[in-house]
Amino acid sequence: MKALKKYLDKIKPNFEEGGKLHWLYSTYDAFETFLFVPNTTSKTGVHIHDARDSKRTMIIVILALVPALLVGMYNVGLQHYMAVGQDVTLLTRFVYGLIAMLPLIVVSYVVGLGIEFAMAQVKKEEVAEGYLVSGMLIPMIVPIDTPLWMVAIAVAFSVIFAKEVFGGTGYNIFNVALIARAFLFFSYPTKMSGDQVWVRTADTFGMGGGTVIDGYSGATPLGQIATTDAGGFGEFAFRGITGQSLSISDMFFGFIPGSVGEVSTFAILLGALILIVTGVGSWKTMLSVFLGGLVAALLVNSFAQNAMMEMPVYYHFLLGGFAFGAVFMATDPVTSARTEKGKWIFGFFIGLLAVAIRVFNPGYPEGMMLAILFMNAFAPLIDFYVIDANIKRRAKRAAAANAI
């Protein structure tokens, strides 16, 4: 650590005004502050300082994502070797998932950070740290078989049009990772939904080749129940990709087809624990998303017409991106409501809308993305009215006190 710091200090003059590499100062500054907490602080205004600046906050979110990422990678391998009917060791499955996932992560970071660094360099600003988390989220919420060039385009689109044009990190209205996914979803629907994309059946860099076994179906559980012709939930059974029945624990631990981040509710809850304990993510937002989902699911259960409407509420929480969205997307500090009361309202409607979209719109078996993006647009309005109500309440109290 000491040596690294010394090295950074030694090369610093090159990047300062007058140095031969001064045009790369933003890049140098980004790496220096990424590695070490800067020892300068704001000089004006009233601030309370601790060691946790936004780069440290971002790293905690990445840490919280790691359990879901690891289980998701393992699951990619698991689903693949089930599809080709080979029995392999746990490690082989994980390695397969790792090398299938790595290109997505690399493309996401190279394109996204490339644009961020270039923008910062041109505008002579510090490189903002916002993309560290978005860059990890994007590969985790797209199907494993998404072509890399599509990921690159979506990342470029969302970084430029969802973030930079609004003024960069901290000014965006919509969640950058979800905009990338929404772009892919509406641009290339055949690559982003349906039952062909969630399980990689081909080999990856020559690893795990084989032919797909008979009776294979790559539909996700939510996709299955959205398209089933079973009369009610009682007659319906979730099937794995080889036709085996899926238990609740399969869904909880993440051994179902789906995108890498969303499959394991267990790993997501671990991440939620990290976020809540460190105070990075708001437990109010997370809890209220689940509350909203609960209310909506109970409501539609009470007048159920088909299997999807009859589906008990815990399936809504276990399947699809519900938990992942609640923990990692809804709590995005930039795009969610910022007032404490506002967080309850914001989260509640996300849960409500997500379940409503799932149940009432057969075209979108997954409603979490649209629900969060929709509520992102309303977050400033919610904050405005929460603050306004508070001002009115206090004005009334002051008026009552003055009247005496």
Partner: protein
């Protein structure tokens, strides 16, 4: 035939620094609605240019006889008559395009650019400058539509004017058409990008920020 500076400004201004779509932000509705393909964009551009130029000339010739209090009604009657003629011509000679444009040919009547030019220019200028102003504004509106239509058709369906331009080997290599280009939000974004580039090249158009 040399043009004076004023008539030159009337003709060429709307193409660039006084563009009705990207500077005055008028006529956005039809720019989003008809530009999913290049052909309807072209037809719409021509239709609006013709209607605007003729309406400008007619109103300009009548400008001294129209009573001020009913001028909007007179303008509307003139525009509506011209739009009806254009619509009938399209139905007779370009039926398929007419179907694609559907209601938007009729809605040229309500295009803000038309009323705007009649009010702002034709009522105060002679027929010849008004004619040039109409042509200029029609083309200024038209080139935005054509550019948006070009990119939407190229990226959205891989075609131009109905002919396939993106070769098959690209599709075989994994390329896919962008479905979002076919939806209206992308037209809005494309117009925004044109505005972005245009403002970047014309610093005097920057709005005051506070």
């Amino acid at each position: 035939m040399a043009l004076s500076n004023k008539t030159k400004a009337a003709l060429l201004g709307p193409l660039n620094k006084n563009n009705p779509v990207i500077v005055q932000v008028l006529g956005i509705c039809s720019a989003l609605a008809v530009t999913s393909k290049l052909e309807p964009s072209l037809v719409m551009a021509v239709a609006v240019t013709v209607v605007l130029a003729l309406a400008n000339v007619i109103i300009s010739m009548l400008r001294k006889t129209i009573p001020n209090r009913i001028r909007i009604i007179v303008q509307l009657v003139v525009i509506a008559a011209l739009v009806t003629i254009v619509s009938e011509v399209l139905k007779a000679y370009a039926y398929d395009v007419n179907k694609q444009l559907s209601v938007f040919v009729g809605l040229i009547v309500t295009n803000c650019i038309l009323m705007g030019r009649l009010e702002a220019f034709a009522l105060g200028n002679g027929p010849w400058p008004s004619f040039l102003d109409g042509i200029g504004n029609g083309l200024g509106y038209g080139w935005i539509l054509v550019v948006v239509g070009f990119f939407r058709e190229l990226l959205g369906s891989g075609e131009l004017l109905g002919y396939r331009v993106i070769p098959q080997f690209m599709y075989d290599a994994g390329y896919a058409n962008n479905g979002l280009m076919m939806l209206a939000p992308m037209a809005l974004l494309l117009v925004a990008v044109i505005i972005w580039v245009h403002r970047a090249r014309n610093r005097e158009l920057y709005e005051e920020t506070n």
